[in-house]
């Protein structure tokens, strides 16, 4: 009997487990999945909690209900990965040897990386919304907040879901209008990027929306510290941005155990071959989702598009065949823009987000790189798709793992620069 061990039962790990049970002979292969947390969070839903659109109960399910019964599920902390010995040690002293390892340990926020962030005002006037606790506590505060200067700061790239900070600001603009206090709120985006987003055309388009909504931007702002006494964040080039309420996207890093096991880069992301999804160093170790250093967005849709590639390559490797499936960096993100509208972007390693229609040329129903009501419907409908299709490792109708140029309008000359 051979063993495939999956580390992490979040979005990526759950999909891999569900797909592999149908692709491997159960008489030959034993599949084991390990996670420290018994609760699965629908992380795209965290964004909506501060604004009362979702309650915590909307984004939570027990992991056991999402994993196939044929897979051995262990809830324990991973103490050490020993890829040179094909072995993983758990905090409960259990040791598991594997033939193949799939790492799906994700990325996580580290507010302690920024001096001053956690000192005195954490979850009082400084909040994250990338955890259920942060999103819930921020929601409590916003219910009674009387206005002031709300600053959204991205500490460092890369971050999980790079559009989430923009969505947060768009929704904040909507929420404060709904509460009738928008005129008492200043909204500011302080970002290390030169504009609203990482890719030129989308950055220009999203930058226009920020401007229209009266959200100001402090670009190329790389935070050095939080000065709690002065209530400012200070950049490495000594610029100061004052706040009454600071919403932070802290430094994102791979799991601590990746660092402790000596498998990661400076941010604990594992060096990974971007097309095969095999690690640079160990040929029987594969990566799905945020855990690797693949230069694609860190997002659930990306993990979904990686899934078929990873499974095909893993099966080829098991059979001793050449790994032919090639990941193209495909990402597909609904960006909620407030007032029941949304924007959709679809891109990969090479092609930046372009205007057009998706997934069907002409028919849509979604429109790329522009606001529409149907895009908002897509965004809100994604929760159902996530629980019922995506996590099960099933294909989303009409949406291929590889990005399609069909329906996209290619502009001959870029009108924008990042």
């Amino acid at each position: 009997m051979k063993t495939i061990l999956i580390l992490g039962a979040g979005t990526g790990g759950t999909m891999v487990a569900n797909k592999l049970v149908h692709r491997l002979d159960p008489n030959e292969w034993h599949i084991v999945i390990i996670d420290k947390d018994e609760t699965h969070y629908y992380q795209p839903g965290f964004l909506f909690i501060p604004f009362g659109v979702y309650k915590p109960a909307d984004v939570i399910k027990p992991k056991r209900n999402l994993l196939p019964s044929q897979v051995e599920t262990i809830f324990a902390e991973i103490e050490m990965i020993e890829p040179d010995k094909n072995r993983v040690r758990l905090s409960n002293k259990q040791e598991i040897s594997y033939d193949y390892l799939v790492v799906a340990t994700g990325s996580h926020i580290h507010a302690e990386e920024t001096p001053g962030m956690l000192d005195v005002a954490w979850q009082e006037s400084i909040f994250d919304f990338y955890t259920i606790e942060g999103a819930t506590k921020l929601g409590k505060l916003l219910e009674t907040w009387n206005g002031g200067r709300m600053v959204l700061n991205i500490a460092e790239m890369p971050i999980k879901c790079p559009v989430a900070p923009l969505e947060f600001l768009f929704l904040a603009d909507w929420y404060f209008q709904k509460r009738g206090i928008r005129n008492k709120v200043d909204l500011v985006l302080a970002t290390p990027l030169p504009g609203a987003f990482t890719k030129p055309q989308a950055s220009a388009m999203l930058g226009n929306i920020l401007e229209k909504k009266g959200i100001s931007i402090e670009p190329e702002f790389t935070i050095m510290e939080v000065d709690n006494a002065k209530q400012v964040i200070r950049s490495y080039d000594e610029r100061e941005v004052g706040y009454d309420l600071l919403v932070t996207i802290p430094v994102n890093k791979g799991a601590d155990v990746i660092g402790a096991s000596g498998m990661g880069d400076e941010l604990n992301f594992i060096p990974t071959k971007k097309h095969t999804l095999q690690t640079e160093k160990w040929e029987n170790v594969f990566i799905i989702g945020d855990a690797g250093n693949v230069p694609s967005s860190k997002a659930g849709s990306v993990a979904h598009f990686m899934l078929d590639i990873l499974v095909e390559n893993l099966l080829s490797h098991i059979k001793g065949q050449e790994m032919k499936a090639s990941f193209d960096g495909h990402a597909n993100c609904f960006i909620e823009s407030g007032f029941n509208k949304g924007i959709l972007i679809d891109f990969n390693f090479e092609v930046e987000p372009l205007p057009g229609s998706f997934p069907l040329p002409g028919g849509g129903p979604f429109s790329l790189l522009q606001e529409s009501f149907l895009n908002h419907v897509g965004k809100m409908g994604f929760k159902w798709i996530y629980w019922n299709i995506l996590l099960k490792g099933l294909d989303i109708p009409f949406v291929e793992s590889h990005m399609s140029m069909s329906g996209k309008r290619v502009l001959t000359k870029s009108t924008a620069q990042a």
Binding site: E156, M157, P158, P162, P192, L193, P194, T198, P200, E220, T222, M224, S235, Y236, D237, D265, E266, L267, N293, P295, S296, S297, S414, Q417, A418
Partner: protein, 101 residues
């Protein structure tokens, strides 16, 4: 002096597309465009980034530059204002650092 940039190919974000075309003279001109005058400290960092990219095939991130050169993040922002990793990559004739995805 801008003549020496004429034979060099750039992408639309202003990064050189072929690191092999790079020379120190080109770096001086590219630095001028970024309003940076290259001192020894700048050259140390440019050299580190060139070597690092030659082994890894990509531009180093800010964190890789600080740990590889011993310069602090603050120093790097003083030497290459605003976005040091991006600015050094541009001057060193390398691609855009992949942190920006």
């Amino acid at each position: 002096m801008l003549d020496i940039l004429k034979s060099v190919s750039f992408n639309k974000e202003g990064f050189m597309t072929s690191p092999a075309q790079w020379t120190k003279e080109i770096a001086v001109e590219l630095a001028k465009q970024e309003s940076v005058e290259l001192t020894d400290a700048h050259w140390n960092i440019v050299e580190f980034c060139r070597q690092n990219a030659a082994t890894t095939g990509k531009s180093p991130t800010l964190r890789q530059i600080t740990s590889g050169t011993g310069f602090s993040t603050k120093d790097l922002f003083a030497l290459f204002p605003k976005g040091p990793a991006k600015k050094v990559a541009k001057i060193a004739g390398l691609g855009k650092p992949e942190g920006c995805v």
